[in-house]
């Protein structure tokens, strides 16, 4: 979905440039729609990027700790819990915003007259998917189904 977003952004800007250059008109909403799509690209792909290990972490401690698997495991679970807590906190307030925009019928007030809950809802979905991915990873590590070293291994890339 996020990949589609990149293509739509490119297509939309080209369309706007063509309209402006050759037809002296405009879509009158490019900035706005492209902004929504940028948010969608960033957050809809967050879960996928996490799964593939593309979400950065700094691991000065993780490497030496690999000699004590239990400590490594506990640390990993604590980090997962902290991440779940703070993104869960964010999600609950973000949900409040989306719900308010939906029930009060807030729109963008521009040519598109876009109901605001649609783009914010997309970001919410992305955050929830990310939360679930982190949860799945945390469970996997805690139940020793997957090794924590399957994580984005910062030092492993050194040659």
């Amino acid at each position: 979905m996020a990949a589609m977003g990149v293509l739509i952004v490119a297509g939309f800007i080209i369309y706007e440039i063509v309209l402006r250059t050759f037809f002296a008109t405009s879509t009158f909403m490019m900035n706005e729609i492209v902004g929504y799509l940028v948010a969608a690209i960033g957050f809809l792909a967050l879960g996928h990027a996490f799964e593939r290990g593309d979400i950065l972490r700094v691991s000065l401690l993780l490497q030496p700790l690999s000699r004590w698997p239990l400590a490594r495991l506990v640390l990993e679970v604590v980090l997962v819990l902290a991440t779940l807590a703070v993104t869960g906190f964010l999600i609950s307030y973000f949900y409040g915003n989306v719900e308010r925009q939906f029930t009060r019928g807030y729109t963008s007030g521009t040519m598109s007259n876009m109901p605001q809950w649609i783009p914010t809802g997309m970001m919410l979905v992305g955050l929830v998917v990310f939360w679930l991915q982190v949860l799945a990873y945390g469970l996997g590590v805690a139940l020793r189904q997957i090794p924590p070293s399957a994580d984005p291994q910062a030092e492993a890339g050194v040659q």
Binding site: A24, F28, N31
Partner: protein
Amino acid sequence: ADTVKWDLSTEYAPTSLPGRADAYFAERVKELSDGQMDITVHYSGALGFKAADHYTAVEDGALQLADTPFNRMNGIYPIFEMQALPFLQSTLDEAQTLDELMRPFYNAKMEQNDQFILFTAPWTPQGFWAKEDVASVEDLKNLRVRVVDLASVQTLKRAGADAIQLSWADTLPALSTGSINAVLTSDDGGLSAKFPEAGLTSFSAVGFTVGVDMVHVNADAFADLPEDLQLVVLTAAAEAGDYGWSIAKETVAGNFAKMGDLGVSVVETVSPEFKAALREASQPAIDDWKERFGPQADMLLDLYQKKVAGE
């Protein structure tokens, strides 16, 4: 007691007209409260909020105070758009009349969302910054003009110009590359953005509308203040409102002379025919607004027209 610390968010610079009124307000609160209350003004959107976010941010108490232009509140409730309708108000006096008349209506709506207006501060009236004078419908046809809100797009498209919604940050680069050749904004906004240096050496004061900013406060935060500080805030607000409107009036008087010094050609008044044509082009935008607002729109418009006519 501890000093009460509040934050005020604005999208504009400290040198802009509403920005100066905000600074004045913060200064007066500090003086009148003997330093017991300290308001930090975050200019240029430094806290990360844009004007369009202010309404909900103040409702949730994320901000105690915010400076928000009425034309950035479309999409929330149609009543706020009234202050930004094209040609409803072309002078600072008309804008002030409308503001005073509508204040109870605005506040009645805002109370439902835990906030109310403390004071307002205007910009100077809006006209066309362009390379050549814009004095007739013919002149409009050559314009690629940057505008900010929906009603302006609708109006200018209909009048024959090519209107483009651009962010302020993209406006100057777009001017320098020629993808636009005009900007609809206040005389003051154009001067502080150095439009004459960017090649826009003409200002046509069509009085498209007058931008007005409101400074609104979270009602719970206000209720939590001790009573003496509540009175301080209200007093400083009344003073800042007077200050904001009076510096705008002084600025309008001085700006035309200043533009003359900079070699800007100023069309101080446009022909009645041109204004009538623009007014007519704005009708669909106004009808559109009425439809969204509902049947009471005409009632409010009548009230305002009578007041302006001095009845």
